[in-house]
Symmetry: D2
Subunit: 331 residues, 4 copies
């Protein structure tokens, strides 16, 4: 069933903001994101490293936290103003959504909550401001990631997840549905005016499939892959380069030392006007997954990062062997 | 004086939408925008040609109208909903701003008005939906312009223009000011979450300096220049390639057969968070104009498209010879 | 055993020149090479289509011939002068190498022969001159292939093949050998001063694995893939994009309607100085095959085009299951 | 008069090899070529710095020598074998061409001579071999210059210069001539199979106008300009980006701290086949200089590096004011 985006959401979401990862070897992970991926280290302590994209004026969009087990701690979104944090608190209380206020260094008022399918989400209304590095071209590394762009979550219940976020004002730009029905298998949702800030796909969840940084262009994507290869991480590319049918993204997926997955991508399109309907893709349409590109690896399909202490549920929708084969793209 | 963006604007602007040009040879202009620039012709009649960018789902972002004199007829913005047109009408009536309702083919409710400095503006809330061509890679031409992005207007009074649009909810991302003062010489304003939708610079106005289409990347920019050259329009590039300090745009400016100016550019950065202050550039800072690039031609500085029957006024701020020299970048 | 390049070869080879393919649907193949790959049609008759790369001043580098069965008719090289054809004829006669003179339209004196491992080769000393299209940027299609660059042949006996061509003046730039030995598994040989004009790899042969056109850069490679995808040939990419360890090529392999394989690639390096030794790669080194890139498909490894009436022999060197697994890169 | 390339030159030239520059601030120049341009420092002493391009296996292609005055010490070419140095010595003796043997560190047998128009040239047959860095993508800087490619010399007598080098086996690929005549104003000559290794243009000479490194592509060219700008050398670009009509090069010219000029360029085409005639450009053809691009600066036209103790002569061919205007491209 297609979701209805709220015309007057309870508070104003503005964009995907940051992700915090629990990592088992902090230095190794920092080196990976700085030297292989090309993020900027804003600050680091013995236990935490804060990084950001080259054009970002915010203190961090990626937080690495020393831990015993690899987990995704939280997935963060921005709201417009401090008052939106208060409004969110009230809304979640009314709806019985688990939430709590947090003090987070370098962030303004911050609220944590669990969405309808168990994803651990964090909202904040501001961050410490730092200089944009977008014109420090002489400091660019690898694919020169400019900014955090979106998250893809695996969920056992795409429909519930989608409804929850549509109520918060997110709008669906594209989706996959079982042929001849509106049974949702995947939804691409946005709030910042282009293709996606948050994606849900069907599977064992809640888990973070990947977080994505926007890179400048196709040349940067190849340069990213070349640097990944030169640094000895070539086999950690588990999909790409290729061109998704959905969203038109040119993509490269790389696993970090803890097997968290980062996507480097380019070629968003603008999605602002209300008269434009979302693009529908039948699950059976092979061009959905990719216009071109070698088949994704099995681990791209089956592996993802779990949230701490959050049980993973089996998907409500089951792929028949035939569609799984197709889904996997391994012929 | 820095403008204050209205927190509750009278209606909701969403983005730069379209521009209508009066052209003296309709076929020649159509061929230029289709075969040299690479726009898609959506529809054409004996007197009008409608074009759009490759990723655009709207009927038109560029309208060419047969005329005896080259003029810019109107500069168009989108509002969120039909109700915003009504709200705009009410607001302009209250403020004594000249305006009128129009019936425009392929557009929803449409309102025309003159802004505080005489620019002819059109608002509309929707357009006919057409297919996005962004994955028809085999039909791409030249720089493969994806979408209309922003306008730059020359005005005799940057401060008044800026205040007018800040009241409508536009936010300043960057600006130039006389050293040691807040005397505004140029303002970059946005509403869609990246660097600019509307730019005002000091000079004889109101005139349209250029309208800009976003292209994919640096390779596309060079490809655009190569096709411009191959089609015999090489001498109609009046600035670029180069990298603006302001806005970080990589740019190429080309004159059409009537000397209207189109910019092809890439490398916007995201500008959403409210805690991020606008970037200030002193007029005396040469990196403001460009980080690198050969000097712009004189015609880039002095020529622009006039609105029909709209008197052009001398600028309130006068450049001293020294700063003009600097402004022109011709050393 | 490493080959010894002749210091005074019997005649002067200059470069890989052209390839003639027997195709089962002439129009379909022409459309593929013109509209999907982007070659220029120089001339066509009912039975033959001649194509060339955008920068080539020669009449053809690819010849499509109508036939009942898909075959590679011949693989062509250029010699410096007409006198070299005479010298080649004399040399082959002395050595008992099968050869014959041919009249080929649009070619100068032409000599056909079978090399030491049964490959069907054609030499010619000149061709009809046609205009280079390299500055017709407005006519570029897809990856904008500039020129035929090299051939890769599968052979049952890499050592003999390599010796044969080294005697003709070809020089080895890189090679793969069984660990700890000089048992040659693959040899990259050049005569025009960069990485390769002719490659031999171990397997069932003689067969043409692919012919390669040089494209401008990484952006062109992605554009090529995008056009391949947009034209519905996405699943005919059987390897790439990826970066070979050997030769440093950035590559994309596509199958034509008869399953002949074309490589589009970029990033040759110069190889002229005699003091520079060839680069050796152990067969066990996985970076040899690719620095990065998803695993090649099985068909990339096992399928290739046969020469007419030429028996295919089993390779002299047998991969053990372990090294085959590695060779295939399918882990 | 068009030159006749010798079919049996006295010795075998193979390519442009290296250039030695006298610089007044060694550290500053080294930093410029390493951090702004992106060359690799192979070795350095108190008085000399040796650099090379990323793909080069030779010890140096650029030598910086501490000096009191900025000069170009010598322009270097490679010959095939040591025997070619001996043959060159004999040839120059017979012709009365000034020459002498030199011992140069890291170079094989080396011979210095003055060509017909006074240019200081050095020939060598080998160099110390060092590792190619072409796959160290994580060490690439700026435009990632891959290899030294060619030289452009200003001479008072293009015809004599061209004849001299044609006798040594160089072949003209393109040239400019006065309309309706064969009066040579500029000649592009090659020996390595693509557009040029050595260019002569009419003017006050002998002087080195520029030496050129090949970069990967258009993206690298923009990246080069961005790094040049970010490092504060934006105003030292004295021409480009633009596309030459002649040779089809996409170019960027930058001045070093001593005002020596380096070109970063891409898009050579192959020039091997003998039946292909050189491309002629009338001096009056504006597309000759550039297909597109802003006008070159005056200093690009008039400034160049002198050889030590070599008098500079006025050109034999004088531009009339009209053609100078055109020649300068400043309209």
């Amino acid at each position: 069933m297609l979701p209805t985006t709220s015309e007057s959401p309870p508070f104003t979401l503005t964009r995907a903001s940051h992700v915090a990862l629990a990592v088992t070897d902090l230095q190794k992970s920092r080196d990976f994101y700085r030297d292989v991926i090309g993020l900027v280290v804003t600050a680091e302590t013995d236990d935490v490293v804060y990084l950001r994209g080259l054009e970002e004026a915010v203190h961090h969009s990626l937080v690495l936290e020393r831990a015993n087990e690899a987990r995704v701690q939280t997935v963060g979104f921005r709201v417009r103003r401090d008052a939106d944090i208060v409004a969110a608190e009230r809304y979640f209380t009314e709806r019985g959504v688990w939430h709590r206020r947090l003090e987070k260094p370098h962030q303004g008022p911050t609220l944590q909550f669990r969405d309808a399918v168990g994803s651990h989400i964090e909202l904040t209304s501001s961050m410490d401001v730092v200089p944009r590095k977008m014109q420090k071209f002489d400091e660019f590394v690898g694919g020169a990631p400019q900014r955090l762009d979106h998250f893809q979550l695996v969920t056992h219940d795409v429909q519930s997840a989608t409804n929850f976020w549509a109520d918060l004002g997110m709008r669906m730009s594209e989706y996959t549905a079982k042929d001849g029905t509106d049974e949702l298998w995947g939804t691409w949702m946005e709030v910042k005016g282009n293709t996606h800030d948050l994606v849900f796909t069907n599977g064992r969840g809640p888990r973070l499939h990947h977080f994505a940084y926007a890179i400048p262009d196709a040349s940067a994507l190849i340069q990213a892959a070349d640097v990944v290869g030169a640094q000895g991480f070539g086999s950690e590319i588990d999909r790409g380069p290729g061109r998704h049918g959905i969203s038109n993204a040119l993509f490269l997926y790389v696993r970090d030392p803890d097997q968290h997955r980062i996507e480097l991508f380019t070629t968003h399109y603008q999605f602002i006007d209300l008269e434009t309907p979302p693009i529908r893709w039948d699950v059976s349409n092979p061009r959905r997954a990719q216009l071109w590109g070698m088949p994704a690896s099995r681990r791209w399909f089956f592996e993802a990062s779990e949230f701490p202490d959050e049980p993973v549920r089996e998907p409500l929708l089951k792929a028949t062997p035939a569609t799984l084969e197709d889904y996997l793209g391994v012929h």
